[in-house]
Symmetry: C2
Subunit: 209 residues, 2 copies
């Protein structure tokens, strides 16, 4: 009976993974929690606590094997498989995400895009088909989709979310400013860009700039 992993720890895992990837590229064989803590600007204690939520990946007196720890993190984060995604809304953000090749490398594949306006087709590069949003339910009947990305306009967002949930989508990556209401068992990850930008303006005001 393992205890629940806190949200704070989960949010840090990708960063550890990122750092370990860099270290491996640099050819490092081993790293101690202390050395990692200096590099990342966190405490060694926290790193050891975090990792030990999932198991003892290190060796006393030696530290952590970079390759092995990275591989373990990869598994923990769920990157040892592929994911199929669809993008709802082929506007600025939707197009940018579709054209970005970085997610492919980690196994996240954009299989299709949907929009109310299909005449945008010529902009969809990388052979990702763009369908009219009316075809969404039909598409989901015959295609397994792990993650749905919502990048429609704010006013359409809740409606699109409802349709996705009704069709059985369990994981949503939301780029609209809306606070979407969804059932408890659906996992949603919000990217509220304006919230992020506003923390910068807060700092400007704070510093009297």
């Amino acid at each position: 009976m393992k205890k629940k992993i806190s949200e704070a720890v989960i949010k840090r895992l990708p960063r550890y993974y990122r750092c370990l990837t860099e270290l491996e590229q640099e050819g490092a064989d081993r790293i101690s929690s202390h050395a990692l803590s200096v590099r990342m600007g966190v405490t060694a204690s926290q790193i050891r606590q975090d990792l030990n939520c999932f198991g003892g990946f290190g060796q006393q007196g030696y530290g952590y094997k970079v390759h092995d720890l990275r591989a373990a993190l990869r598994g923990l984060i769920g990157l040892d498989r592929t994911y199929s995604m669809i993008i709802l809304g082929a506007g600025n953000i939707g197009q940018a995400l579709a054209n970005y090749s970085g997610f492919d490398k980690e196994g996240f594949y954009v299989k299709a895009m949907f929009d109310v306006n299909v005449s945008l087709t010529h902009r969809t590069s990388r052979n990702i088909p763009l369908y009219h949003i009316d075809l969404l339910e039909k598409y989901l009947e015959s295609n397994k989709v792990d993650i749905a990305v919502i990048s429609v306009t704010q006013s359409e967002a809740q409606n699109v979310a409802n349709r996705l949930v009704a069709s059985g989508i369990k994981y949503i990556w939301n780029f609209t400013p809306s606070e979407l209401s969804i059932p408890e068992d659906i996992i949603i990850e919000n990217v509220h860009l304006s919230d992020s930008l506003f923390t910068l303006s807060y700092r400007c005001r704070e510093n009297g700039v």
Copy 2:
């Protein structure tokens, strides 16, 4: 001598602001911390604690005036003025941010974009000029820029950041996966999209999907 506002509180301000904006649009005059807590899924205690970091905006026995509280939050977040921004890197994300009109509405204006490849010009809509990145320093000499957005490729990111800092930029919105090293007095806000996506894959694995 006011005590320091915690990071957690600051991160919640934009969300309060968003909610109050909705309430005002719905024509609400007043709201109690309890009603707001139900709507936002947080505790009334937390809302009152958070707001009271900045002042007593409510009235006992009555609650908060929606319009006044929203206006106060607007000021606190620093939205009662405008900001000039430049975007470094006219790739997918850079273009999407430049074309997105939502930030304008809150007073964040994209004044220029820079890239190593200027032949992308035809895609810059909304009359935002695209300059070669070699012209960055010259541009900054004669134009006041509040916030610089970094959306170049990962390998260029640190170099671009160094140049921005050298030219006096104090506020950076970073969209690259890099952990940029910058001086202490520079404020950086990171949007690590892959970290966000990875929390979804973590949940998939956790739930055995």
